[in-house]
Symmetry: C4
Subunit: 191 residues, 4 copies
Amino acid sequence: MGKGRLEAFSDGVIAIIITIMVLELKVPHGEDPAVLQPLLPVLLSYILSFVYVGIYWNNHHHMLHTVQQVKGSVLWANLHLLFWLSLFPVTTGWMGENDFAPAPTALYGAVLLMAAIAYYILQRVVIASQGEHSLLAKAVGRDLKGKVSPLLYAAAIPLAFWNPWLSNGLYIAVALIWLIPDRRIERVLGR
Amino acid sequence: MGKGRLEAFSDGVIAIIITIMVLELKVPHGEDPAVLQPLLPVLLSYILSFVYVGIYWNNHHHMLHTVQQVKGSVLWANLHLLFWLSLFPVTTGWMGENDFAPAPTALYGAVLLMAAIAYYILQRVVIASQGEHSLLAKAVGRDLKGKVSPLLYAAAIPLAFWNPWLSNGLYIAVALIWLIPDRRIERVLGR
Amino acid sequence: MGKGRLEAFSDGVIAIIITIMVLELKVPHGEDPAVLQPLLPVLLSYILSFVYVGIYWNNHHHMLHTVQQVKGSVLWANLHLLFWLSLFPVTTGWMGENDFAPAPTALYGAVLLMAAIAYYILQRVVIASQGEHSLLAKAVGRDLKGKVSPLLYAAAIPLAFWNPWLSNGLYIAVALIWLIPDRRIERVLGR
Amino acid sequence: MGKGRLEAFSDGVIAIIITIMVLELKVPHGEDPAVLQPLLPVLLSYILSFVYVGIYWNNHHHMLHTVQQVKGSVLWANLHLLFWLSLFPVTTGWMGENDFAPAPTALYGAVLLMAAIAYYILQRVVIASQGEHSLLAKAVGRDLKGKVSPLLYAAAIPLAFWNPWLSNGLYIAVALIWLIPDRRIERVLGR
């Protein structure tokens, strides 16, 4: 079973998620530039989520690059990841429209955490399907980034009720950690 | 006529359906966590439909794997299936927003039933187009799952007016039956 | 310049158009089955447009099958067709929500007419790009269907102000004429 | 790392952007043709943006045609371009709903400007990744169009507060300049 359709379907869903998020940037009423002001936090939360979805897409791209064959378990682990990514628009919108208030910031982190766990599961399932000479296992190595990120999200969730800006700082920090695409995979593949 | 575009178009439509359903999870007003509570049944109905659409996508993926050439009849049987799948967002939203009330639960089942029938028709059309040595016919065999599911949906529809939770239990049960991807096809293809 | 991306982009836009139309089927308020009644004309207009978009997708599929190379003129003629198709959701919604009233029915026909003209232009541009031994020209032949359809749409537009059901009857009639996929192309290609 | 998924993902996002813009053409209430009148500026702004997105898609198509391998930097420069394109629907809607008023017209130009800069950056990143014998560098040459367009947008932004029709005239003029697809690339590739 080739990986072509898995890639195409994932690309489709991720492309739609990234675009649907922009629908929360509702067209303001009135032609006065002042009507743009309440859109600012919505725009900021959109940028953060756009970067996160971009990171997931890039790393997903790299991960599937190491895959030859796709088993049923990979299809479902992939759908599980897409499920959590599909909740980004609503949590992004809730956080942006409430100006990064505590509860929306915590929920945003919870969905980030679940997506990170789903990505980790997908990675394990792919490695298991590749057997002991797994290219992906070699590429991922100790997977420091993959292990630290969920810890930071988990810390950010309760922090949000104390100071949501700290939590958002953590979300930005994790995004920056990942913005460098997974060079480990490029290295192992020798490209 | 190759099957590439048929797959790509179906992937596109299914990817959009799965993502449009999430639009029913409307961004709540207010930053109080309590505003999330009315979203819970909407989230549950979204999860059920996400799993169903995932099942259709996976099995569609497996089914087309056995196809070499696509005739006009297959294109139209496929569009017919996509039509019924395209009604999932509205019936999912209606059921979720009304807390799994009888009529919305029955309508949800009716659309599930029509999609199951459309899938069955597509399967027959593909088998007919493959002729007597049809790979798909061999893979599907007696097609127990394909025959039992519509019966269970048909039973769930009137049941909804008596006890909608029974109907929803049946929808979950059928989903669980199908969650195992169609190993029969993998077996026949010897992979 | 290969045709792969042209097909992929067109598939994407058409898949989104066909799915966005379903957003007009708004989730009704209340759990009473009676709330579904105002959705009926919206559903009927959705079915009509779904079939029309399906016809365009199928015939587009067949047309591009005869193409090897894509020139800039084909890209733009294709975007022109996609533009008119992109207006289907709004005209479908207007007609459905107003129960097939005269003006919405006429506008629906006007967009059908423009899409038919755009399809005809695309066909001419493809034929011109293929030169005198054009496969598509051979396949299309006298193109009776392509010439009669715009005439019927043009007749249906003024008729809508007299009796919109006659116009809708014509729209259905044209759809039925086209429902048979373009066997001419299959014939010429010898498949 | 092949360019296939980059193209597919970009096509998906651009296809969704072009289609989401049409959602601003809200289905009017009432069956009287007069209700269409307020839609006219929305339609005009939609046409302008449709042409712009079409131009970006066509030129993106041509640009990637010269690419063999995709590095991480190209992926991110591409996402940066898609980010600015994703803001087209909201600025188009704001301009259309306010009848081409000064502030919305200026913001529309600002997003056009940012998209042009993002396209220029992507072009530089691709050229840098191709090394000194870059096909794209040869094709682009002095890149007069790419350098003049941002200047015209930058001029149009302040002009909008004096006379928004002048700004819109400039936007149309730039679109016309680009409507001719990048024949330079076709020339260099010898097709």
